[in-house]
Amino acid sequence: MAPRLLATAAMDAGFHVATAETIGMAQREGSVTSHVRIGDDVYGSLIPQGTADLIIGLEPAEAARNLRYLRKGGSVVVNGHAIMPSTQGKGSEEYDPDRLIGFLNDNCPDIISADFTRLAKDAGTYKAANVAMIAAAAGAGLLPFSQEYLWDVLEKMIPEKYRDVNRRVFDRAIESVSDTKGKGMESRAFNDGRVR
């Protein structure tokens, strides 16, 4: 849902968009990465390495797994809530999310990390963690369009009975990043989509 939400809001804001999503076998509890490209000129939907303006990591290890895409000066929004694997893959080290978050905080200059699952849960449902993260990205000025575009799309996408709780999650997430707003905006300007 997250890629489509971003893409639709971006289109409403006047951009061209292209997304790539993972559907099917690979999706069953495996690592899943979606790409969203927004701009005046988009090529294919897959982002080349070292060119992503923003990585939204719904889980710490999955954020780290995709760092190769991040451009110099790009931003990271990461959910500190780890999804622990049931079985350790052969030869795979034990997963230490705190250490990984520490690494991300130390190495990504422009990062927002928080437990967005907790935030969503406190507001009513842990399932809205992805909504919280996208709202936070918008609230921190990391998206090339305003948060109103996002909410307009969400309102249409979400069944009525879940709308209120999602609105709460949305607002709280934006509030949670309000102090970062404006900070480092210059370095956050998009390199191939202009802010309108």
Binding site: A7, A18, T19, M84, N107
Partner: protein, 626 residues
Amino acid sequence: MSSKRILMGNEAIAFGAMKAGVQIASGYPGTPSSEVMETIASHAKEYGIYAEWATNEKVALETAVGAAYSGANAIVTMKQVGLNVASDPLMSLSYIGVKGSLVILVSDDPGPHSSQTEQDTRAFGHFANIPVLDPSTPQEAYNMTLLAFRLSHEMETPVILRTTTRVSHGCADVVIGDIAPIPRDIEGFVKDTRWTIFPKLTAQRHPLLEDLQLRLSDCFSEYFEDNSFNSLSKGSSRIGIAASGVSYLYAMEAVRKLPGVFSVFKTATVYPFPEKAALDFLKGITDLIVVEELDPYMEEQFLQLAGKHHLNVNIYGKKNGCFPVSGEYDVDVVIDGINSSLERGNTDVPGLSHSPPAINLKEVPSLLIRAPTLCAGCMHRTVFYAFKKAAGKLRSQKGIDSVFSGDIGCYTLGNARPLNMVDTCLCMGAGISIAAGLSHTQEYSNNGKAKQIAFIGDSTFFHSGIAAVVSAVYNSADITIAVLDNRTTAMTGHQPHPGIGITAVGSPAKIIDIAEVLKSCGVGLVRTIEADGLDGCIDAATEAMQFEGPSAVVFRGKCVAISKGEGQYIVDEDKCTGCKLCISQLGCPAIFSISSGLPVIQDTCSGCGLCAQTCPSEAIVLKEVL
């Protein structure tokens, strides 16, 4: 009037088909193709379209063929391996042709992300003598769907619309026309010898079929003059790039810092190959770089062309190792491929550079491997675990080993640790036939006997399980069939099937009862049980495995991805002894523990209760209870 919408490539194709006036649509779900039929089905009532999920791709194609014989506009949808199932009618159909129009949507899966093979439908089209269109974006997919219907009607041939994952499952802003379907009256079936394939007819039709390929090749060459999806451009160097499908976009992005340097040949009409245009393009080119995923299809076409016309041009692609022969492409793969072609060529065009990532990847701590596995609370886990237990008993009590033949669906993931319950998996329906084959060679192991168990899902059972059951029973195979009936086609997005009693468009339908089918096929012992109780499942598995001759159990449950879980479980730390059986035995992704701690159940627990039934200390309880 036209409007701009965010559409997935598959949705764009569905809208294209509806715009083109499709009247009948049939298909079998398969990633990455399924959303085409789903979208058509959801609009079927509105536009008066007949839409259905068929039991398999052969049936779907033949149904659409019948409609097209009567003059209707038809589409049939499947994934690349589905085309193998449909290949029998397809190969004959190309000789016969159609009257209305017939578009065959086939989605390929380079990578592969969700498939057993990385096969290339462009090559299949070539093999079957059926034109293939290969769009590169959702917008092109929409436009080419319209073209496909038109071509099919004009040329009286079926047309393959081939996509790849990034086109099928990519979303983009797409401009589509209002759906005022282009009407085509259905003339109705007119009896004629042309519809009955006989050797004599085949002999007559074959030269015409070959002639059609030549005409189409010329027609596709003409498209370069006035069509946006075929184009030729001349660059300042003597190096050319040829590409089709989504690879074209990767190539254009790879060379964007060198605008106007390369000559570019872009085609979306890949088969029959537009030879005249290609020849035109090769004039003045000394080095040609072919960028394409999957098979070196275009590369071979260009090599042939160069040979036929004694052209002095170097051709770089997969065959000389410049590009990988397998796997999915992206911009970085294409940059490497172009660079290695440039290095071999005699040119002063500079190499292309990658964008360096912001973070030194060598410093990233090593990451856990997160492999796909059955969902938390999936009924298949209970059934697999029950068979594991039953097989353990059979081994310890009677010294009989068990072999588990899996099949295609979510339950292929029963191979994941710690279940390890899939010993073979080949293609749809093969679980039963392979088990039967193994049963006829039972004496292969030193200790004599082995019991053969075949797992099959409900949708797969209808797809190609039934014929395998009939054959196994008729030939006295000593097998146990476990039907994993989760009441949906789960892997591909929860499409209905004949066991459910709902059609593609949501109308009620006659339910085909799987257990009754098994009985009427002559399976000696048939049981149906609910899959939520572990002990009951173990008993049913044990009884079936001890039965001499073909036996079957239909395990009925629900897919958690569409049914709501009931509550969540929690580990009572006072009772938990830390034996970690719940982790070492089940592999439910909702439970984990770090080596030093007790098991912890995460939010994703759907409340199936399997771990609670497995725990020897009764330490796993419903959250509300604790």
